[in-house]
Every structure is written in structure tokens, then in C-alpha cells.
Amino acid sequence: MVEFEDRPERDDELDRELDQELQAALRPLQPPSGFADRVLARVQEAQVPRSPAFRERGGFAGRMRWAAAAVLLLAIGLGAVWALQRQRRIAGERMRDQVLLALRITGATIHAMQNQVAQNSQRSEQRETP
């Protein structure tokens, strides 16, 4: 019983009675039927995103997505490298052809100049010989 100071005896008696009545009256009440089921359902609901099976499924799909993205990136990278190398090879071949053409032109020019020099030398020798 809760203690009250300086109270008449009758009040204390009433309080004791009230105490007993309260203890008897405030018995736990039954919740609506199916309460535990509803709590468990909410627990399951809250747990679904965290459940291992779901996580595993999500994880596998996630891994598959990552793998597909990696393969795609690799393909794009390899394609880019191949295209760059092809471009370089074509440019190299073109440059080689140009160099060869230039060498051929230079060779022909030198040959023509050599012939000219040789002809000039012969003419000089003929003039000097009486």
C-alpha cells in the first residue's frame, strides 16, 4: 500500500480497500485473438529483405550483373585496343609506302644525275683529245 502521512484511520482503511480493489481490478487483459500471429507476421515482413535466402538470391543476381558489366567493359576495351592497333597499322603501312616511293624517286633522280655527269665527262674528254 502507498504510505500516506497524517491521515485519519478511516482513510487508511479506505486506501487499503482501494489497494486491494485495484490489484483485483487491474488484472492483465487478453489482447485481440491472433495477436501473436500478427506480431510474427510483422517480424517476418521486417525480416524479408534481410533473410539469407533472399540475400543469396539478391547476391547471385548482383554478382551476375557485375560479371555482365565486367564482360561488357572488357569487350569495349579490347575493341578499342584492336581498333587503335588497326588504325596504327594502316597509318604505318601508308607511311612505309610513302617512304619507299620517296626512295624510288630519289634513286631515279640520283641515277639520272649520274648519267648526266657521266655524259658531261665524256664530252670534256673528247674536246681535250686532239
Binding site: 502507498v2 504510505e3 500516506f4 482513510d11 479506505l14 486506501d15 480497500e17 482501494l18 489497494d19 480493489e21 485495484l22 490489484q23 483485483a24 481490478a25 487491474l26 488484472r27 492483465p28 487483459l29 487478453q30 489482447p31 485481440p32 495477436f35 501473436a36 500478427r38 506480431v39 510474427l40 510483422r42 517480424v43 517476418q44 521486417a46 525480416q47 533473410s51 539469407p52 535466402a53
Partner: protein, 187 residues
């Protein structure tokens, strides 16, 4: 103590949790209902309390700890719900009192047949005139059979304040009882 298993099989844990819910559901629901006076809202609060318990179970080390946790969290959540409801403009107070009166009158009629001085239903009806905090203290004292020191710890308030709330609540109930007795005596 109930422990969340490390394995992927959660079934045994959920069965144990169900047992925990079934053990404490009456206590939790009663506290919420007697503070709020609304079965629907009380069930909502009680469900929230058990959901919070599920999340916090790892931190609770014994059955005593679980019990203390449930009492404290239920009272706090019910008081929060009471404050939220009171602050809503659209809340119809008449509806609340009407529902409560209907429920309590039904109980009162049954109890009257048993010829008790202060019927349970009357006491509960008189309790509706108390403030939410007075009801909480009274419930912890008489429904949960807690001592003022334990109530003070649960509600994080000084023991003197708990005693003061108890005294005021009992005084109010006593005055209601006396008024009722006079009314009956006067015919």
C-alpha cells in the same frame, strides 16, 4: 536467454520469440490499452513494442531484463501515442470516451452481478479521469506489482514524483468512490 542464431535457419529463434510474445502479450496490451483506452491503438503500440523487442533482443541478457524492458518501453510508447493523439486536431474525444464507456459499462454490468464494493469496471472508468502519467504509475504499481523505486527507475523519474503521482491518483479514485457511495446512499 534467447539468442539470435548465427546460422541461416531462423525457425527455432522465431518459435522462441513467439513463446516470448505469448508470455508477455497480455501485460503489454493491458498497459497500452489502459493508458490509451483504445483497443486498436493499444494493439498497434503493443505490436510495435514486440517488434522493437525483436530488434533489441541481442542486448537483453535475462528474462528479468526483458520484463523490465517491456514494461518501460510499453509505458513510454503508450504515452507517446497518447501525446500524438492528443495533439491531433481531428481527434474526436467524444468518440474515445463513448467507446470506453460502452466497454466499461458492459464490464460494470457483469461485475455488478457479483456484488462488489468497487467493481473492476467502475475502477477502470474512474481511472479514465486520471492523467496518462498517473495511469502509467498506477498500472505499474497495481497491475505489474512494482514498487515505487522500480517504477521510478522504469519511468526515469524521481521516486518522490512517483509517490506523488500515486497519492494524487489514489486520492482522485477515492473521491470518485466516495461520491458514488453518497449517490447510492441518497438513492
Amino acid at each position: 536467454m534467447l539468442r539470435r542464431p548465427l546460422s541461416f535457419n531462423l525457425k527455432p529463434f522465431e518459435l522462441e520469440f513467439r513463446h516470448l510474445v505469448e508470455t508477455h502479450q497480455s501485460r503489454v496490451f493491458s498497459i497500452a490499452y489502459r493508458i490509451l483506452g483504445d483497443r486498436g491503438l493499444a494493439e498497434e503500440v503493443a505490436q510495435d513494442v514486440f517488434l522493437a523487442l525483436y530488434r533489441d533482443l541481442d542486448r537483453l541478457e535475462s528474462d528479468t531484463h526483458v520484463l523490465a524492458w517491456l514494461r518501460r518501453v510499453t509505458v513510454h510508447r503508450a504515452l507517446d501515442a497518447h501525446r500524438r493523439r492528443a495533439s491531433r486536431i481531428e481527434y474526436a474525444a467524444e468518440e474515445f470516451h463513448e467507446e470506453r464507456t460502452q466497454v466499461l459499462s458492459a464490464g460494470e454490468n457483469r461485475s455488478a452481478a457479483q456484488g462488489r464494493t468497487y467493481t473492476s469496471a467502475r475502477l477502470e472508468r474512474w481511472m479514465s479521469s486520471l492523467s496518462a502519467i498517473q495511469k502509467s504509475v498506477l498500472l505499474l504499481r497495481y497491475q505489474e506489482d512494482m514498487l515505487p523505486g522500480e517504477i521510478a527507475a522504469a519511468l526515469a523519474m524521481p521516486q518522490a514524483t512517483v509517490k506523488s503521482h500515486l497519492q494524487r491518483a489514489l486520492k482522485l479514485l477515492r473521491s470518485q468512490a466516495e461520491r458514488q457511495t453518497k449517490e447510492v446512499a441518497n438513492g
